[in-house]
C-alpha cells in the first residue's frame, strides 16, 4: 500500500526523535571520551592533536592510585557485607510473616528516599563523635547503608522467582533445613546473589556524594580523589580516568549480561 507524504514524514520524524534521545543519553560520555584523547593540557573540545598521554598520567598519579585502592577495599567490603545482610533480610521478608514486616521493609528501602549527602553527613557526625572519622569502617558502613536496598531487592526478587517445590522436594528426600539451604536454595539463588553483589559493587565504587563526607585523605575513594583533583587542575587526565571508568563498568555489565542476564541484574525481569 502506498503511503502518503504525511505518513512518511511522520515516520521519519519519529525515527529522528528516537536517534536524538539516544544521542543525548550517550552525549556526555562521548564528549568526555573524545576530550580524553586531547593532547593539550586543558579540557577543551574538540581536540586538535590526539594523544594517549593523559591516560598514562592518570594511571601514574598517586592520589588516583590510592583512590582506586581505597575504593576497591571499600567496594569489596561494603558489597559483601550488604549482600550477607541483604540476603538475610530478604529471606526473612520472603519466608516469614511477622509483625512490623512492612515497617522493616520500608526502613531497609529508605536509603532510596534519603539523599546521599544526608546519609554521608549523618555518618560524618556519628564518626566524629566516636573518633572514627579517619577509618575505613565508617566509609564501609556508609556504603553498606546506601547499597543495601539494591541488594535486598535483587535477592528478594530471586527468592520470589525460586520455585519452593525444589526445597520441599529436598526435604521430602530427607535433607534437614540447613542441608536444603546449602545444596538447593543457595546454588539456585547464586545468579541473583552474584548480580546483587555486582550491582552493589558498581554503585559503591561510583558513589561520590556520601563518600565526600565520610572519607579522609587516607581513605578517599576514586570519585573523591577525582573531585579533589578537578578543583585544582583542569587537564584531560580526568577525562581519561572517566573513560577507564566507563570501560570497566561496561565490562562488568557485559559480563553480568552474558553470564547472568542483564534483566536479572537490574531486576526488571519477572519481578512481581
Amino acid at each position: 500500500m502506498p503511503r502518503s507524504i504525511y505518513q512518511r514524514l511522520l515516520s521519519l520524524t519519529g525515527k529522528l526523535a528516537v536517534f536524538l534521545i539516544l544521542g543525548f543519553l550517550v552525549l556526555p560520555a562521548a564528549v568526555v571520551t573524545i576530550a580524553a584523547f586531547n593532547d593539550k593540557a586543558i579540557l577543551s573540545f574538540p581536540p586538535q592533536v590526539w594523544s594517549w598521554r593523559w591516560f598514562a598520567k592518570a594511571v601514574a598519579y598517586q592520589d588516583f592510585r590510592d583512590g582506586f585502592r581505597n575504593g576497591l577495599i571499600v567496594t569489596v567490603w561494603s558489597s559483601t557485607v550488604a549482600l550477607v545482610v541483604g540476603a538475610m533480610f530478604a529471606f526473612a521478608l520472603d519466608r516469614y510473616r511477622f509483625r512490623f514486616r512492612k515497617t522493616i521493609e520500608a526502613v531497609l528501602l529508605s536509603p532510596l528516599v534519603i539523599p546521599h549527602f544526608t546519609v554521608g553527613l549523618g555518618f560524618l557526625i556519628l564518626a566524629a563523635q566516636i573518633g572514627w572519622s579517619r577509618s575505613y569502617a565508617v566509609v564501609i558502613v556508609c556504603h553498606v547503608v546506601l547499597v543495601l536496598p539494591f541488594v535486598l531487592r535483587s535477592v528478594y526478587v530471586s527468592l520470589r522467582n525460586l520455585d519452593q517445590s525444589y526445597e520441599l522436594a529436598a526435604a521430602s528426600l530427607g535433607a534437614p533445613p540447613l542441608r536444603v539451604l546449602a545444596t538447593i536454595t543457595l546454588p539456585l539463588l547464586l545468579p541473583g546473589l552474584i548480580s546483587g553483589w555486582l550491582f552493589a559493587a558498581i554503585l559503591s565504587f561510583n558513589e561520590f556524594t556520601a563518600s565526600l563526607f565520610v572519607t579522609a585523605q587516607r581513605t578517599q575513594t576514586l570519585p573523591v580523589a577525582m573531585y579533589n583533583y578537578v578543583r585544582e587542575f583542569a587537564d584531560p587526565s580526568m577525562a581519561a580516568l572517566s573513560v577507564m571508568y566507563i570501560a570497566v563498568t561496561a565490562g562488568l555489565i557485559i559480563f553480568a549480561n552474558t553470564f547472568l542476564g542483564l534483566g536479572k541484574v537490574l531486576n526488571i525481569e519477572q519481578s512481581r
Partner: protein
Amino acid sequence: MNKAADRDAKVSHGSIATDESVAVRFNAVTKRFGEVTALNDVSLAIKQGEFMTLLGPSGCGKTTLLNLVAGFLGPDSGEILIASDRMNDVPTYKREIGMMFQNYALFPHMSVASNVAYGLKVRHVPKRERDRRVEQALALVRLTGFEDRTPRQLSGGQQQRVALARALVINPAVLLLDEPFSALDKNLRVSMQVELREIQRKLNVTTIFVTHDQSEALSLSDRMAVMSEGRIRQLGTPAEIYRRPCDRFVASFVGDTNVLRGRLDRLEGTSAVIAIGAARVNVPRGPLMDAAASAPVDLFVRPEHLRIIDATEACATSGTVVAHVYQGGHVDIYLECADSSRDRLLVRSSGHEAMTRWPVGSQVDISIATDEGAAFV
C-alpha cells in the same frame, strides 16, 4: 527388608489401636486456613502396598491431605500415622516419604544421577552402594544411559521418570504423587500411568495419589476416596464408586451420568426398586432410607446402561435424537427427553451403525439396565 523390619520394631506407642497392615492412617484430622476449613474431621486408613487415590475438585482438601502426610503442613487437630508412628511433630525430612511433584521439581543444577542420588547422599549411604542403587532406580524407570544429562535436556515424560526414580530410590514408607500426569499430553499420560502402576505393584510401595481427573482415578486405584469441601464423601474400589455412588456429588463427579426422574416403587431388603416409566431398576437402599413409598426420586444412571430399543419392549422413557458424537470405539447419542432432569440424555452405543439407525430427529424409546445406578431423594 531391613527398613520394614525396623519400622515394625518401633510400632505401637500410640494411643490408637494399630493394625500391622495399615501404612498410613488419619485420625479425625482437621486443618483450617484462616476462616476456611480445608479438612474437616477426616479419618482414613491406607493399607500396606495399596494404591489410594484422593479424588476431588480443586479446593476439596485432597492436596492438603497429601501435604499433611509429607509434613509440609501440620494438622490443627487429629493425628497422622505412618507405619503406626505418630507423625504430627516429625519434620518432613525424618518421615521416610517419597514425593513426586506436579512440576517434578527436579533440581535444575544437578545431573539426573545426582538428582536420584540426593536422597541417598543425605542419608550417608556409602558411594559404592549409592551408585548401585541409582543405577537400579534408573533401570527401573528405563532411563539407563541418561545419568549425565541435566533435567532441562529431558522430555516431560523422562523428567517424570527421573522424579519417580528419585522418590523411589530411598525405599520410602509411602509414595506421594501430586497430580503427576497433568503436564503430559494424552498419549504419554496413558503410557506413564501404566508404567507407574507396574512399578508400584512390583515394589509393593504404599501410594497416595492426588488427582482431579476421575478417569485417572478409576483406572489406577486399588481404592479411592472421593472428596469435596474438606470431607471424604465416599471411599471404595473404583468399581464400587462408579457403580454405586453414595450421593449426588459422587455420582456426578465420577464418570458421565444421566439423571432421570422416577419414583420409589418398593423396598426389598437391602435394595430399592425404582420405577421409571414401564421399567423397574434395582438400586441400593442406603440413600433412600427415609423415603416414603412412591416418593419422587432421581435415578443416576451411566450412559452405557441406557439402551435405545424397539418400541415393542418395556421402555423407561422416550426422547428425540439431537446429536451424535462419534468417538471411534463408540457413539455418544444425545437425546432430548422429558424425564431427564438435566438438559440432555446421553446414551453410549457401541458400533457406528447407531448413527444411521437412529438419525438426528428420530423419536426413540429407551430401556435401562435393571441392576445399575443409584437413586437419591
